[in-house]
């Protein structure tokens, strides 16, 4: 801070503490004038006719410094009046002489300049002080803000670190769980299927090799053991193929639906080992799909279409496809027993078996596998059905863009 600033600063400090009401001003000015007059009266024997006005100057300047130039001028005029009336006994307004006029004017001018100067100084000091206060407040606010900002940054960083740690922990845990699940399902296959093989195998051997020693009821019990083991095995396989779909690595490629369907019809025994009449409206088109997952879904749909027919009825299946914007929808339609409306909502859920499925062998996993397999290929599944008339299951997959045809000659 410069010397001037420090001086005005100090001046302001003094002056800013005074009361600013009109009464306070009058009391101060009057008191100053009276006190000065009293001092002058005390000093009168010493001073004689000198310093008649000069002693009032401190009071004038003090008033100007404290209350501004108006109070300064008021005090100045007051002092002039007092000087003239008290200390210049020979003075009379009606016979004023040149020297007296000159003296009064010079007193007035000098005092006025000082009053204005002091008042300006005071004002600038006030302004400066205000500015400094403002600056201080602003800087304090800024400091507070930056401190708050820093704190919140720290909190944010802590949160981010926390989050990162949590994510890492969760990921590790998830990986662990997935690995555990894989071991789990692997163990299921090995350890559960082995006793199943024993149950089925030995029940079968008993039936064959000890046929003549078995009564009808004994043979029936053995058949029930065999069937139970078979069902449990199918269930295990269903759960496994369902969970395997999630773990399979999916690579979509452009597939010819006709050849995928042909492959399924030729290689899946649950489909080709039947006397089903299958009608295909070719060409079925192409789709972006994963071959083995698509084949699995299709074979499950075809297996259902073959299976869910009234007893002694030959299955009749129609396969056709339609293009729905950028997708291709493949329908597998049958004339089987159909599905009641209330069953349709749950039909794609794992382990769901419709009421009408009671008489048919199954695990309730087939359609769940279809849905999961198609969804993993970016597709959707759906069904329309009428009990007693048949069902129309469809799968919808993204359609690959047609390859450019041969150029026209």
């Amino acid at each position: 801070m410069t010397q001037g600033a420090s001086l005005s600063h100090r001046l302001w400090n003094v002056t800013s503490r005074c009361p600013r009401t009109l009464g306070a001003k009058i009391i101060f000015i009057g008191g100053g004038l009276l006190a000065t007059s009293w001092i002058r009266w005390l000093l009168a024997p010493l001073l004689q006719n000198t310093l008649q006005f000069f002693l009032y100057l401190p009071a004038i300047l003090a008033a100007a410094a404290l209350f501004g130039y108006r109070a300064g001028f008021a005090t100045l005029i007051g002092s002039l009046v007092l000087t003239v009336s008290l200390w210049m006994p020979g003075f009379a307004w009606w016979k004023i002489d040149e020297t007296e006029v000159l003296v009064l004017i010079s007193w007035f001018s000098i005092s006025a300049i000082l009053v204005v100067g002091i008042a300006l100084l005071q004002k600038s000091a006030a302004a400066q002080r205000q500015l400094i206060l403002e600056l201080r407040r602003t800087s304090r606010e800024l400091q507070e803000k930056s401190a708050r900002l820093e704190a919140s940054e720290k909190t944010l960083a802590a949160h981010a670190a926390d989050l990162e740690r949590t994510v890492a922990e969760r990921t590790a845990k998830l990986e662990e769980t997935v690995a555990e699940l894989e071991t789990y399902s692997y163990t299921i296959v090995h350890d559960l299927r082995s006793p199943l093989r024993a149950m089925q195998g030995f029940a079968h051997l008993l039936l064959i090799e000890y046929a003549e020693k078995l009564e009808v009821r004994g043979a029936d019990y053995l058949r029930r053991i065999d069937q139970g083991a078979r069902r449990l095995d199918q269930l295990i396989q269903g759960v496994l193929s369902y969970s395997n779909i999630d773990r399979a690595k999916i690579e979509l490629s452009l597939l010819d639906l006709d050849s995928v369907v042909d492959h399924v019809l030729r290689h899946y025994p649950t489909v080709y080992d039947t006397h089903a009449r299958i009608e295909i409206t070719r060409p079925l088109g192409r789709a972006l799909a994963h071959e083995s997952l698509l084949a699995q879904a299709l074979s499950n749909l075809l297996e259902n279409a073959v299976k869910f027919v009234p007893p002694d009825a030959a299955p009749e299946i129609t396969l056709r496809s339609e293009i729905v914007e950028l997708r291709v929808r493949l329908h597998v339609m049958d004339r089987g027993i159909g599905i009641p409306a209330q069953g349709l909502a749950h039909i794609f859920k794992p382990f769901h078996r419709g009421r009408d499925a009671a008489g048919y062998i199954g695990t309730g996993m087939g359609l769940a596998v279809v849905k999961r397999a198609i969804e993993r290929q970016g597709g959707t599944v759906g069904v329309l059905s009428e009990p007693g008339k048949g069902s129309d299951f469809w799968i919808e997959l993204n359609r690959a863009p047609e390859p450019p045809g041969p150029a026209a000659p």
């Binding site: 692997y186 296959v189 090995h190 299927r193 082995s194 006793p195 199943l196 093989r197 024993a198 089925q200 195998g201 030995f202 079968h204 051997l205 083991a229 078979r230 095995d233 496994l240």
Partner: protein, 148 residues
């Protein structure tokens, strides 16, 4: 087409072994089935060590059937040993398992398994499978391994 063929079966599960043996005998009554209960014993058998030193009672097999999951040495480990052995690497070796875990299938074939098959749950299917296996290998020319 029946002829005395020696099959070495490495299988820790007795029930599975009994069913397999039964199915094999149904397809070929002349078959000589040798059974070991784990992978280490399979290697001992092939080396002709300890209990298996007598080659008239425990001849060198023409076909080896390995269960995948066994205590001691797994089927894959035994397969690796067989394929690394200059004398026995020529023996047709089949791997059987309860699952078709893609990693297992890949490993078995990359180590030189002749076939990988999943043990069927139903006995009829097992008999059918055994018929196919013995039928196939009865037509195929088998390497001649002189006993040590």
């Amino acid at each position: 087409m029946n002829y005395p063929i020696t099959v070495l079966i490495a299988e820790d599960e007795e029930s599975d072994y009994l069913l397999l043996e039964c199915a094999l005998r149904k397809t070929n009554p002349e078959i000589n089935v040798q059974w070991v209960r784990d992978g280490v014993a399979a290697i001992h058998y092939l080396k002709g060590e300890g209990d298996f030193a007598d080659r008239t009672r425990h001849p060198v097999p023409q076909v080896i059937l390995l269960d995948l999951k066994m205590p001691g040495a797994t089927g894959i480990e035994v397969l690796g040993w067989v394929r690394d052995n200059p004398r026995y690497r020529v023996i047709p070796t089949l791997v059987m398992s309860s699952s078709h875990q893609p990693t297992d299938v890949e490993k078995a074939y990359s180590l030189g398994a002749n076939t990988y098959f999943v043990k069927p749950t139903s006995f009829e299917t097992l008999v059918d499978l055994c018929e196919k296996i013995t039928g196939y290998w009865s037509y195929g020319i088998k390497p001649n391994i002189s006993p040590l």
